[in-house]
């Protein structure tokens, strides 16, 4: 059965696939690649924040670990496949360590432990100069060329990123509907009850952390291939806060929310900063507006406001005020 929803998805994919054609300019194609790679990062964090109710402020640490691991292997002269596999394995291992330490607690405790772990990664990247090259960072000299297709051009890199992005969205969609996804949401809403029902709450959260870490690692790899450079700045707390803002402003526990959030932040950073020097201020104002009028996030908030507007419009057209449209309360 084909529903309007299917139509919207097909249209969105069509627009994304044809984007390099109608955007034309390399600069904007690169911005689109950035949006997609940060969307993958935000989707990964959303697994924990949205579905697990576990707010992490250390994900930039995992993101940077993937980047550094990949960059170091490439620097040592190995191929891209080896670098990528190694980076993912290291990120999974680091995620496991993060999870074991942070899952001793939930809520603020979880947030503080992840924050501390992220800062440790930043500190190591900054101070362990003999390996990480400290503040100077590491250059990634080449992009991979899968099946002989070089990703050094803006449009080919965009298509590779789009492919990974679509895979991430598909995985998340399946995950959300699956029994395991339902289990994770259950531990968010009623951890105590879930235990009494026979669920191993700790293990569910641990596996969700690994899942989140995996896609964070993928995003980290896309990031170093995009920038061809990594420095300690990537692991900084601002990076963790930024991706968390993407998730929260877009709408937690939704699939579209983190993507919309990533788009807002990346566009502000790249486009608005070209016109307004204090673009951070604009970003701040945008977030304040979103949180004031749509505390549940941009995507669920827009849906609510549209519904409200539609109801009002219909009521006016019918000329009857049998039932006033519901107030757009959060």
């Amino acid at each position: 059965m084909i529903t309007p929803r299917h139509g919207a998805i097909a249209l969105a994919i069509l627009l994304l696939v044809t984007l390099p054609v109608w955007v034309g300019n390399h600069y904007y194609i690169n911005i689109a690649s950035q949006i997609l790679l940060f969307a993958v990062f935000a989707l990964a964090l959303n697994v924990l924040v949205g579905y697990g109710g576990l707010v992490s402020l250390g994900h930039a640490g995992l993101f940077a670990i993937a980047g550094y691991a990949g960059a170091l292997v490439l620097q040592a002269g190995h191929g891209h496949l080896a670098a990528d596999l190694f980076a993912i394995l290291v990120t999974l291992a680091a995620s496991a360590v993060f999870a074991v330490l942070a899952l001793r607690s939930t809520g603020i405790g979880f947030l503080m432990i992840t924050l501390a772990l992220g800062q440790i990664v930043w500190g190591i990247a900054y101070r362990w100069a003999s390996v990480t090259n400290g503040d100077n960072g590491i250059n990634v000299t080449t992009r991979p060329a899968p099946f002989g297709l070089s990703l050094s051009r803006a449009d080919t890199f965009y298509y590779a990123t789009l492919l990974v992005f679509l895979l991430a969205v598909l995985t998340m969609t399946v995950f959300v509907r699956s029994p395991f996804g339902a289990s994770l949401r259950g531990t968010r809403d009623q951890a105590r009850r879930m235990t009494a029902l026979g669920y191993n709450v700790w293990l569910i959260r641990f596996l969700a952390f690994l899942f989140s870490g995996f896609w964070t690692g993928i995003a980290g790899l896309l990031f170093i291939y995009y920038n061809q450079f990594i420095s300690p700045q990537v692991a900084a707390l601002t990076g963790s806060a930024e991706v968390l803002l993407m998730v929260i402003s877009g709408g937690t526990a939704t699939l579209l929310g983190p993507i919309a959030g990533a788009a807002i932040v990346v566009i502000m950073k790249n486009v608005v900063s070209a016109y307004i020097e204090r673009w951070n201020l604009v970003l701040g104002v945008v977030f304040v507006v979103i949180i004031s009028f749509m505390p549940e996030g941009l995507v669920p908030g827009s849906v609510r406001l549209c519904r409200w507007g539609w109801q009002k419009l219909r009521a006016r057209r019918n000329g009857v005020a049998a039932r006033p449209a519901e107030e757009p309360s959060p």
Partner: protein, 245 residues
Amino acid sequence: MTALCVNALSKSFGGLRVTANVNLNVAPGERRLIIGPNGAGKTTLFNLITGEIAPDSGSVLLFDQDITRLPSHRRAHLGMARTYQIITLFPHDTILRNVTLALLGLSRLRWDPFIDLDRQHDLVTRAREALVRVGLDHIVHRPLSETSYGERRRVEIAMALAQAPKVLLLDEPFAGLSIDERRDVRELLQKIPRDVTIVMIEHNMDVALDFAERITLLHFGEVIVEGTRAEVVADPRTREVYLGH
């Protein structure tokens, strides 16, 4: 053989002894009522039995198997189910999803990240059957946030029954219900077959007296009286701590 055996169980919170050397032997199929005034340690006893908190000393046996050190979630797989005095459900989900989650908890499918939960017809059918038993099958798709208090009580019971437990622990299932709702819940509990052993906590003795064969009276964490309904009601100590004022 006993269905549930509690041996010399003790627990203190700081200087406060909430469970003091409690012994309890519940036979298979028995209906046991645990009564006691507010703060007698009834819910704490349940939390010790289900493993939500660990005892300082003593042991808990389920069908002669020592489960004292077993994590709480493993006990559910051995046939122990409970309801909560303060309703503990999934507010964002429908009634059907709430009960499906109860069934999923005992199914290996709960680890599966690839399949669509809504298409697991076996689980969904069994969840509907549990809801038929509690008379909620006409509103299975209603979000829990739009249900009444009495309906939520019945969802609690449906979730416990769906798991086909061997030992069912009911923590004040009549709390906060109207007279009509109480009657419905009582009839519902009376229909539960005898292969389920039931231990029920009740604060208000009159509500649940006719339900139980044996009654245990708890006061300040200690078992004061235990016996048949008539024995406990007639005992002067019961009157003293409970009825007598």
